[in-house]
């Protein structure tokens, strides 16, 4: 916006003007000659009394008098006498910061004249009564008196003359107004009409013939109430009513602008809305979760899905440093406009550049709200949608572990000693000596991001990973996944005098670029490798030690990023191994002092820290030889070496306390031992994983927000602090308490915002309630009590039934902000249940049905038209939730993909809104493309064909019966005799012009008939 609405400045500043001085004659002549003509020609059109009269005054600046010039406009004085350099007028002429006149820069000569004139003291004879408007100050006290900003009132439903239909208190209000207007309300609608109305209103689908029959046959006075209860319990209720909220939330699944990037995790917000509505989540909670779910319940799937609301708006696909700041303020504006429109019925977008023209909303309120959202960025997060299930799986996993361990223990006592003794005496001596390198068998594995599993041969293998930022329940704990992976590998040994370790990193075709790293290019960057040695038996007399490693050899080494970087204690440097050779790699580290080893065995813990992801396939070996120097030499498993070491330390006998350990070492040599060991190992490897899902939502980030004069990012006026809309607080408060807490308490600003938003006595609660009950009313009656559901301000319409709105809002709040009872309250009223018929008298008195003397006929929304077509065709897939789908699906339309640049034609054609701004009310248009779709689209033809099969399941079905069923399916009623006759005549006539055998002809004629029904207004209108 280049210019914003104009405010004039306070007159009081004028007192200081210096027009008492007598200007010198030369100066005045100069003014007349050089200055005045330019002002007249280039400036007066926007900066003069005349301009003001023509409503063209810009910036509140008058340049047609000395006073106006000196006082200046919105930006302050236009000139400072004698100081041309700091005078705004001259800067503007020089196009320095501001560009005036906007049509083009004036000549250097003219600009020099102005500089000279200002330096002369700006002699100016134009004194006059410049009518400077007093600045429009927003009076908050007055503002709070606006009807929708007042506290909730307790309203008693009016009583009235008897004899008029009053079924619920709602009727008392309606009837009172009708009586005043001398309107005679209609009687009740037929049961057929009523059930069709209720079905479409609550679940957005037509009733089936069976459902209609059941309702008609039920004589109980509570029959309709039962229907309502049933529908409110249907999961399709959430699908229907979520769509209304998705309109006001400008929900879409892509970024718009350049490339319109798809947001695969955006649908969770839609599902959350459906679920919340189905569960009748209290509306204040519904609002709080959308504003601050991620803060109120960090890492909770539902909460994160809910706050997707804030960031559902468009965002450019290409940004640069040059554009990013402006884009950020546009994004904040999108959030505020949506919050304002959807929750408060306020046009907050108008306050970005200036105080509101009509409502008591201050620009600083806007930036206070913006500051509340300052730390809100958008992006995908990986979240476990069902952590309880993950936890249960973990518990089950742990429980499953115990019996296996017990079996192992039992085996080690009952069977192992004999088996080992036999093998020891006959086989051990035949085993070869350990080779230079002994491959170590892992005992335990853990990683920050990766899933590691071990394979025979001491292999540690990558098996998937989590994305950074994921929060999940893993190994009995909730944790946030970092971006740098870290492997922890535990190994045991009983051998002494270990001199060196060797790390093999192996290529494999399962890895990116064949590895050995897991990063996209097959590389890994090992920043640090640490090895800790601890006594295996936990003997407190022995001290754990960190081993000092010397890099000796690496098969792959970049001279700038050598192996030594992995052991230099500096986390900033790394040994980098790229995937060039696609061959196996290895590195050798020598211990500065050989590891003597602990008496009861040694536990070695290798900690490998990486940049990003780690190694895909690896194993550790050690050597007890004095100088292994290179990686040459044989590799054998450590098992035999361990057995010999244990025996050597225990007089050549297996001691009781090493039996369990011996199961591991002995397992390759004995089938029964292997079974027992394998069972434990397999179970360990079956560790359950959290099934993470990508949720597009709020993520941490963002930066401070500044108040922007005229909404321009280059015009910052100081940092904005979080706060609320002042007029929606009980009193003017510099420091705004959130739920009674002082602002200094470290409440998250968005939690504070959600507290204020939903607080009935200290915040925006009353307005929040009014706006929502109005939406509910609107979708039951076609129009709200306030006709402008997104604008409850001065520019919006006033309520037709203010007392009713107030009463409903109070009911809503006192009933715990629940929607379902409110639906029922409304639908049980006589005014809801009345017929649609139009009487001439009433029409004359109230042509727009403002006083609801008849039920307003209205067209179905786009989604419901498509859903109904599928339903009558008998092929609606009524499964719930999940990722969005493109057009070709029999699922309900609420699950269709909403991509901003590729909106589905069938939806937009029937007025589904652009998902770019909050839309509270759809416009129902009628265009020929709709008719073309009904006449020619394969989809509609298909549904007609399916309906034709449905109404005539067998050849023997009489046509009249088929016609009747079609009417019942499509219109929830039986045709009149005249209709039936005409339709049968049509079918016969079609039959006569269709070619083919009699059966084909009949079927085809019925298709034509069914399509006629689908094209009738009655199909897409409810009354």
């Amino acid at each position: 916006m280049r210019h914003c609405w104009v405010t004039a400045v306070l007159l009081s500043l004028l007192a200081s003007s210096s027009w008492a001085q007598s200007p010198n004659e030369d100066g005045l002549a100069f003014f007349e000659q050089k200055i005045r003509p330019v002002l007249v020609q280039h400036c007066y059109s926007c900066h003069s009394v005349q301009a003001q009269d023509a409503k063209k005054l810009q910036g509140g600046l008058f340049l047609d008098s000395s006073e106006g010039t000196l006082t200046g406009g919105e930006n302050g004085p236009a000139l400072i006498k004698g100081n041309s350099v700091d005078s705004r007028l001259l800067k503007a002429l020089k196009y320095d910061g501001m560009e005036m006149p906007p049509s083009g820069k004036l000549s250097d000569e003219i600009i020099a004249d102005f500089a000279k004139w200002i330096e002369m003291g700006a002699p100016d004879p134009r004194h006059g009564a410049t009518p400077i408007k007093p600045k429009r100050e927003i009076n908050l006290e007055e503002g709070r008196k606006w009807w929708s900003f007042q506290p909730l009132r307790i309203v008693v439903p009016p009583s009235g003359a008897d004899g008029l239909r009053r079924q619920t208190p709602v009727d008392n209000f309606i009837v009172a107004a009708q009586t005043q207007q001398q309107l005679q309300p209609n009687g009740p609608a037929s049961k057929e009409k009523l059930i069709r109305r209720a079905y479409f209103d609550l679940i957005g689908l037509p009733p089936t013939p069976e459902q209609i029959d059941a309702f008609i046959q039920e004589a109980s006075p509570r029959a309709f109430e039962k229907v309502i209860d049933g529908l409110l319990e249907s999961p399709h209720y959430g699908e229907k009513w979520a769509r209304h909220w998705l309109d006001v939330a400008r929900f879409a699944e892509s970024g718009g602008y350049e490339f319109d990037g798809f947001r695969p995790g955006a649908y969770h917000y839609r599902d959350w809305v459906i679920r919340a509505i189905n569960n009748d989540l209290p509306y204040d909670q519904f609002v709080r979760m959308q504003l601050a779910g991620d803060q109120l319940q960090p890492d909770d799937y539902l909460a994160a899905s809910a706050s997707g609301f804030l960031v559902a708006g468009p965002y450019p696909g290409q940004t640069t440093v040059k554009t990013i700041e402006g884009i950020r303020y546009d994004q904040l504006d999108d959030m505020l406009m949506t919050v304002g429109g959807s929750m408060l019925g306020l046009t907050l977008g108008c306050v970005r550049c200036h105080d509101h023209k009509y409502d008591p909303l201050q620009q600083k309120d806007y930036y206070a709200l913006a500051a509340s959202l300052a730390k809100t960025e958008h992006g995908p997060r990986m979240i476990d949608p069902d952590p309880a299930a993950t936890r249960q799986a973990w518990d089950r996993y742990q429980q499953a572990h115990q019996p296996l361990v017990a079996a192992l223990q039992k085996f080690s006592v009952e069977q192992l000693p004999q088996r080992f003794a036999a093998w020891q005496s006959s086989e051990l001596a035949r085993q070869p000596d350990a080779s230079r390198w002994q491959i170590m068998e892992p005992v335990a594995l853990d990683a920050e991001r990766a899933f590691l599993k071990w394979l025979p041969g001491g292999l540690v293998v990558y098996d998937g990973h989590f994305n950074p930022g994921s929060n999940l329940f893993r190994r009995g704990q909730r944790r946030n996944v970092g971006s740098a992976d870290r492997y922890t590998i535990t190994l045991n040994t009983f051998q002494k005098a270990i001199t060196s370790f060797r790390l093999d990193t192996l290529a494999d075709k399962s890895l990116p670029q064949r590895g050995p790293g897991v990063n996209g290019d097959g590389s890994f960057q090992l920043t640090e490798l640490k090895v800790m040695a601890r006594p295996l038996d936990g003997n407190p007399a022995e001290t754990p030690q960190e081993l000092k490693l010397k890099p000796v050899f690496a098969a792959f080494e970049d001279k700038d990023q050598p192996l030594s970087h992995a052991v230099d204690g500096n986390p900033e440097t790394a040994w980098v191994v790229r995937s060039t050779a696609k061959k196996d790699n290895a590195a050798v580290f020598e211990l500065e002092t050989p590891l003597a080893g602990f008496a009861g065995g040694t536990e070695l813990t290798f900690e490998l820290k990486f940049r990003d992801l780690g190694i895909g396939r690896m194993r550790f070996s050690f050597s007890t030889e004095p100088n292994p120097a290179t990686w040459a030499g044989d590799l054998t498993p450590q098992h035999v070496g361990e057995m010999r070491a244990i025996l050597a330390a225990n007089a050549n006998k297996l001691p009781d306390h090493q039996r369990e350990a011996m199961v591991r070492w002995f397992s390759p040599f004995d089938v029964e031992t292997a079974k027992i060991y394998q069972a434990v190992r397999d179970q360990i490897m079956a560790e359950p994983r959290a099934a993470l899902t990508e949720v597009y939502t709020t993520v941490a980030g963002g930066q401070d927000v500044y108040l922007l004069r005229r909404g321009e990012v280059d015009n910052k006026q100081g940092k904005a602090e979080p706060g609320f809309v002042q007029v929606l607080l009980p009193t003017n408060a510099a420091v705004q308490p959130a739920n009674g807490q002082p602002a200094s308490s470290p409440t998250d600003p968005r939690i504070a915002l959600s507290d204020w938003m939903t607080s009935v006595d200290r915040g925006a609660g009353p307005l929040l309630a009014r706006v929502m009950v109005n939406r509910l009313w609107q979708h039951h009656f076609g129009e709200g009590i306030v006709g402008t559901p997104n604008d409850f301000g001065a520019q919006g319409e006033r309520p037709t039934h203010p007392e009713l709105l107030e009463w409903l809002a109070a009911q809503f709040v006192s009933g715990g902000w629940k929607l379902k009872p409110l639906h029922k309250q409304i639908m049980l009223s006589a005014v809801y249940q009345q017929s649609h018929e139009v009487s001439a008298d009433n029409l004359q008195r109230d042509p727009t049905n403002r006083y609801l003397w008849h039920f307003q006929t209205r067209r179905l929304d786009a989604e419901l038209i498509r859903d109904s077509l599928l339903a009558v065709g008998g092929n609606l897939d009524s499964s719930l939730y999940g990722p969005s789908i493109l057009d070709q699906t029999p699922r309900r339309s609420v699950y269709l993909r909403v991509k901003r640049s590729e909106l589905i034609p069938m939806m937009t054609m029937f007025d589904a809104p652009e998902p770019t701004q909050s839309v509270g009310e759809r416009i129902s248009t009628t265009v020929p493309t709709q008719s073309l779709a009904m006449m020619n689209s394969p989809f509609v033809r298909q549904q007609a064909e399916k309906l034709a099969l449905r109404i005539r399941p067998a050849k023997e079905t009489p046509l009249a019966q088929a016609v009747d069923s079609a009417y019942r399916i499509a219109f929830a009623r039986i045709p009149s005799e005249a209709e039936r006759v005409q339709m049968l005549a049509f079918i016969n006539a079609q039959n006569s012009i269709i070619a083919g055998d009699p059966e084909t002809k009949t079927t085809q004629a019925l298709v034509e008939f069914c399509q006629v029904l689908l094209c009738l207004n009655e199909f897409v209108y409810i009354d």
Partner: protein, 484 residues
């Protein structure tokens, strides 16, 4: 049904007239007389929103054809000749501002690689890439001082068509139809022609918050069936469909008769007839085989270098002849390696010369033919042709021979009804880098176009979410100097 729909100062849709046209029964007559009494109320969306409306003052332009040069052509290589730039090739560009482009530019002048000549009585300079269009300079009114804020394609295209860069606002064509109604009953009033969809996609031709009635029909040159659902199912004969429609009309009339306050029912009855007619009229309008061999040749339909654009230009003439108000063609054709991508063909980041020669070749002959053809048929007296893209290019180089985006100064021209021919308005600096004289912002351009259509831009408003929106946001001045 009252609505947040206001058209300050514009004649309300003549609902009575509409009802008569719809040929309705008795119920509507009662309603008609009733509506007459409340004719000062806000127009109902149930009425015919496409009914022809009187402009605020007599219009000079009935239709606009906008040849949208997608990707942003370079002003200094097309219509804005700068001898100083030619002279100082490789030297520092005075006043170069690193914030201008989208990427990074060198700050060194890059001269235009094309040969420049003066043309016509006006002596207008034109670069050598337009041998055909240069013969029409005396019809053209050049705006050399265009500027806008956004420096990337989608936001700039949205700003150029919708007035500000935020998506979700209605585009010029939607505002036009909203303000004036439709001049024809068989075709949409706002048609977009494209092959690869331009970057920013249908956000550029959005109806935004306006009723969908004002939405553009976009015709994709790559698709066989131009309009969805225009063709009857092959198993479905005309006789069958006609019989269906007759029955539908009868039953719908009966349905509407008992719901006299429901104006949209009548509109919907009528819309089946309109659809039936459109089914006939649209294929006819789109059928270029009805044009002569000579016309095909003049536009270059069979020329592989420009055939697609030629078809689109010829089609736009046929649409305008049939009363379509606004036709917009997104055009240009880059080649591999010139830095452009299909959805932004004029986007000459890496090889200006190759790119602009290719895009010139693609657009020159058909555009020139369109001007000549419209002129010959007298249509240029009521039609305005606009040539221009979403921004210009930097006068300094990007890489060694490319140019970056430049929203601070670029040229568009208009030719035809209401504007001076052979006229140059506004100017960039001596390097063609920045508009300095008589600057024209998008809002000014829109104000002027609406003025030509007979609409006062400050009065063409639509209330949405409590605000009276305008195409020109809160700015815009009519450029009266260019008007005839």
């Amino acid at each position: 049904m009252a609505h947040e729909n206001s058209m300050n100062g514009i004649a309300l849709p003549a609902r009575r007239q509409f009802l008569q046209r719809a040929g309705l029964g008795f119920g509507s007559l009662a309603l008609a007389s009733m509506l007459h009494q409340e004719s000062n109320a806000a127009p109902s969306v149930g009425g015919d929103p496409l009914a022809l409306r009187s402009p605020h003052f007599p219009a000079k332009v009935k239709s606009i054809i906008w040849l949208f040069m997608t990707g942003g052509p370079s002003q200094v290589d097309t219509w804005d000749y700068k001898p100083e730039l030619q002279k100082r090739d490789g030297q520092d560009l005075a006043g170069s501002d690193p914030k201008t482009g989208f990427f990074t530019t060198s700050g060194k002048c890059l001269k235009s690689p094309f040969e420049w000549k003066q043309h016509g009585e006006s002596g207008s300079w034109v670069s050598g890439i337009f041998p055909h269009l240069s013969q029409h300079t005396d019809k053209m009114c050049f705006l050399h001082s265009m500027h806008l804020k956004q420096n990337n394609h989608a936001p700039a295209s949205i700003e150029l068509m919708c007035g500000t860069n935020r998506p979700g606002l209605p585009a010029l064509g939607a505002w036009m139809t909203y303000g004036l109604g439709s001049m024809n009953e068989d075709l949409p009033s706002y048609v977009v022609l494209h092959d690869t969809r331009p970057r920013g996609d249908d956000q550029i031709w959005s109806a935004g918050f306006l009723p969908k009635t004002y939405q553009a029909l976009s015709l994709d040159a790559r698709r066989k069936e131009a309009v969805d659902n225009l063709l009857r199912d092959s198993k479905h004969s005309d006789a069958q469909q006609r019989a269906q429609l007759d029955l539908i009309r009868q039953f719908n009339n009966e349905h509407a008769a008992s719901r006299p306050s429901q104006v949209d029912l009548a509109a919907r009855i009528n819309s089946y007839e309109l659809a039936y007619r459109m089914q006939m009229a649209a294929p006819d309008a789109l059928d270029l085989s009805k044009e002569s061999e000579a016309t095909h040749k003049m536009y270059g339909l069979d020329n592989p270098d420009c055939g697609t654009f030629a078809r689109q230009c010829l089609l736009s003439r046929r649409l305008v002849e049939r009363g379509v108000r606004f036709v917009q063609i997104f055009a240009g054709k880059g080649v591999n390696g010139d830095g452009s991508v299909n959805d932004v063909p004029w986007d000459c980041h890496s090889d200006l010369e190759t790119n602009h020669r290719s895009c010139g070749l693609y657009t020159d002959q058909p555009a020139a033919a369109l001007l000549a053809d419209l002129d010959a048929r007298g249509l240029l007296e009521s039609t305005l042709v606009i040539w221009g893209g979403e921004f210009g290019r930097t006068s300094d180089s990007q890489g060694s021979k490319g140019r970056d985006h430049n929203p601070n100064g670029f040229t568009i021209w208009m030719a035809g009804a209401g504007v001076k021919g052979g006229f140059h308005y506004g100017a960039t600096d001596e390097f063609g880098y920045k508009a300095v004289t008589n600057k024209v912002h998008v809002n000014d351009l829109h104000a002027t176009l609406l003025h030509l259509l007979g609409l006062e831009h400050t009065k063409l408003t639509y209330r949405f979410n409590g605000r009276d929106y305008r195409l020109t946001d809160v700015a815009g001045n009519v450029i009266s100097d260019i008007l005839v």
